[in-house]
């Protein structure tokens, strides 16, 4: 915009210069012509005016003005030294003996003659000198319409030329600017195309040299690399958090497997000892089946949790059964009370992330509740959404834990296992997490659209 205005200004000034030069040339030309004409008339009219020869003056003027068509002299009047008109090319306009002063308004002197303005005729008043004596005055009107028209024509062409040149320069300027800003455009496009994971500019598209644009592109690529590294770090952190929760489970799970093992080994001893007693063997076999079945269930639930990324299974009520199975060892270790209320589950949400969310929240609730505390889970549908409500009798979420669960800023380290993972998983499922405290209980509510 500024460039265009500058171009127009330059064009305007250049045009003014050209027109001023043209005006000077025209002024010089018309001055020369007027001088020649008046000198020629002076030579012819001098003796006639000096003896007041009216007819002679008229005849001379009439012949001079009627020499050819389209000539410059359109009117001339000659007066004697007293200012009385002797004759004019148009005597009706300047009658004999009238005062020439009535006609000289707006007349220019010969040496300051100018074709300024838009009038088609200019008026010149000059003294009539004969034999070194001023014998009268001559007033001439000259047709300068051709000069005015020429100037108007030049002005018009200058205007058109300037408009065309400005237009072309503006296009050229636009193209040049576009070329200059191409790397910036490329960066913007890259950022727009991949807002989640920006891609680096290909080496082939990198501006050459060490210009500002090349530096910008290199900085952008560095930034993209940093973002990629951070995403990778986040992913590893989430993975680690998942393993942390698994690690925390592992000790209680070891107990869960270890506890029945003593009973099962006793049953095996009983079978060996009382092999001849079919009732004892059958009872021991039942005991073995139940114990091994429980162990199988625990192993399967653990495997399912570990198989987070590989299963495409849809959430079902059995998943909450598995969760209960996984959390119960921890609950019983801390001698806590577990409230479990699971309604009918009918949704198409994937099982793995929901299980992870619930397990992490239950583990945290158990930890917060402390020994002999109270932990509860409520699951059910409400208005097309799956609602999970995990409550505990603990002191409530710390500020940092709250930030990790509800905030959007980068992860901060601190207590509370996998809260950040919970937040990420809920976001992936386009759900929301809320935190409340009521009746001495901390309640974390997760709502997921089905």
């Amino acid at each position: 915009m500024f460039t265009a205005a500058l171009m127009i200004l330059v064009g305007f000034l250049a045009s003014q210069q050209v027109l001023a030069a043209l005006r000077q040339v025209q002024d010089a030309r018309i001055r020369e012509l007027a001088q020649l004409q008046i000198e020629a008339l002076s030579v012819a009219l001098g003796p006639l005016v000096s003896r007041n020869d009216i007819w002679g003056v008229y005849d001379t003027l009439d012949r001079a003005s009627g020499q050819n068509e389209g000539q410059r002299l359109v009117f001339a009047a000659v007066a004697n030294a007293g200012g009385a008109v002797l004759a004019a090319t148009n005597p009706r306009r300047a009658p004999v003996d009238s005062n020439i002063a009535a006609l000289t308004k707006g007349a220019q002197a010969l040496d300051a003659l100018s074709v300024a303005g838009k009038t088609a005729e200019i008026k010149v008043l000059a003294p009539l000198v004969y034999q070194g004596r001023e014998v009268g005055q001559i007033l001439t009107e000259m047709d300068v319409s051709d000069l005015v028209a020429a100037r108007r024509r030049v002005s018009r062409w200058l205007l058109i030329g300037n408009a065309v040149a400005t237009f072309l320069l503006a296009i050229l300027g636009y193209l040049v600017m576009r070329r200059i800003l191409m790397p910036v455009t490329r960066v913007v496009e890259r950022m727009r195309e991949s807002a989640d994971a920006p891609e680096p500019i290909a080496p082939s598209d990198m501006p050459a040299g060490d210009s500002e644009m090349a530096q910008l592109a290199r900085s952008y690529n560095s930034m993209v690399g940093a973002i990629g590294a951070k995403a990778e770090a986040d992913r590893r952190l989430a993975e680690r958090e998942r393993f942390v929760s698994l690690g925390r489970l592992s000790s209680s799970l070891a107990h869960e497997i270890n506890n029945p093992l003593g009973g099962l080994l006793n049953a095996v001893d009983t079978v060996q000892k009382y092999a001849d007693r079919p009732d004892v063997v059958r009872e021991s076999a039942d005991l073995l089946r139940r114990g091994l079945g429980h162990m199988r269930d625990v192993a399967r639930a653990t495997l399912d949790l570990n198989r987070l990324d590989h299963t495409g299974a849809v959430l079902a009520a059995e998943d909450f059964h598995d969760l209960k199975l996984l959390i119960e060892p921890e609950i019983s270790r801390q001698q806590q009370r577990l409230g479990w209320e699971v309604g009918k589950i009918t949704c198409t949400l994937p099982a793995a992330p929901v299980r992870q969310i619930a397990l992490n929240l239950l583990l945290n609730a158990s930890e917060a509740a402390g020994r002999e505390g109270r932990v509860s889970l409520k699951a059910g549908h409400s208005g097309g959404r799956l609602c999970l409500e995990i409550a505990d009798s603990g002191p409530g979420l710390s500020k940092s834990a709250c930030a990790r669960l509800l905030g959007t800023e980068a992860a901060v380290t601190g207590s509370g296992v996998g809260l950040r993972l919970v937040r990420d998983l809920v976001n992936q499922l386009k759900g929301c997490v809320s935190f409340d405290r009521a009746g001495g209980e901390t309640i974390i509510r997760v709502e997921l659209p089905c």
């Binding site: 009216i54 008229y58 005849d59």
Partner: protein, 284 residues
């Protein structure tokens, strides 16, 4: 006796014509004024050709600005003959003789016109008082004498009746001065005005004829009386009178819009003489 001598000389001149032609000696000098012809180069060229052919010797046409100059040249013998006006002829009647008079519209007569611009409301000469007026020549009958004598007849003083008068030294110039608005009225040769009405109708269209004079003797060709008997003058007179007999002569006459030339008695100019007498009453 004198008449007989003239006849004999005349007869001798006729017989001498071929001889004169054969000798082709001194060029014949004929005076003209632009008062009447206004420098029409073609007319002058045709007249010269016609006269040279008829006369057998080269004819030089001497032009001067005024009747006075041409009359003076004729009287002093610098020219052999001149196409004058009836007024200067009568002014020098004793020294000059008539050689021939042009015939216009069948008669050797013409009128003086008083002309005004087409926008004029004047009805007659009396209405032009205080205005501007263009005369052609102070020795012209139609371009001066007629108007001033009319004014005298009206009891006016010609030198004060008009506010401003000029002499244009040409009948065509009078028409130009009135047509162009330089002067409000003018005195002009009626023959010239009518001839211009055919050749330059745009010029005369800007004027209108206010009054016409009585018919007066047409401007004649004159020679000095003391030279009229010479073969040279006789031959020239025959050449002038016989213009309509030759092709070149007819071409010249055609351009002049004249029928031919005729002999005329001095009485043809009695009308002009009468006007001169009127003027004599007011001149000291």
């Amino acid at each position: 006796m004198l008449n007989r001598r003239r006849v004999l000389i005349g007869a001798g001149a006729l017989t001498l014509l071929p001889t004169l032609s054969a000798h082709a000696m001194v060029p014949f000098r004929l005076g003209l004024t632009p008062v009447f012809l206004d420098n029409d180069a073609e007319v002058i060229s045709r007249m010269r050709a016609a006269f040279s052919e008829a006369l057998g010797v080269d004819v030089k046409l001497e032009q001067r600005r005024t009747y006075e100059e041409v009359t003076a040249l004729l009287l002093e013998g610098s020219i052999d003959a001149a196409w004058l006006c009836g007024y200067p002829y009568l002014q020098h009647k004793e020294a000059l003789s008539l050689m021939a008079v042009p015939v216009w519209n069948g008669r050797p007569l013409y009128q003086s016109y008083l002309i005004v611009g087409t926008d004029s409301t004047a009805k007659g000469l009396a209405d032009l008082r205080g205005g501007t007026h263009a005369y052609s020549d102070p020795n012209s009958n139609s371009g001066y004498l007629v108007t001033v004598s009319d004014l005298v007849r009206m009891g006016e003083r010609p030198e004060t009746f008009f506010g401003r008068t000029i002499f244009t030294y040409g009948h065509r110039n009078v028409v130009r001065a009135v047509a162009g608005g330089l002067m409000q009225s003018g005195s002009v040769d009626g023959y010239v005005w009518e001839a211009l009405a055919k050749t330059e109708p745009a010029l005369t269209a800007r004027t209108k004829v206010l009054t016409r004079s009585e018919w007066l003797g047409f401007p004649p060709f004159c020679g000095r009386s003391d030279q009229m008997g010479t073969p040279r003058m006789q031959a020239m007179q025959q050449a002038i009178l016989g213009l309509d007999k030759t092709e070149k002569g007819r071409a010249a006459l055609s351009l002049l819009q004249l029928d031919g030339m005729t002999k005329a008695a001095p009485s043809l100019f009695d009308g002009i003489a009468a006007r001169m007498r009127i003027m004599e009453t007011v001149r000291p």
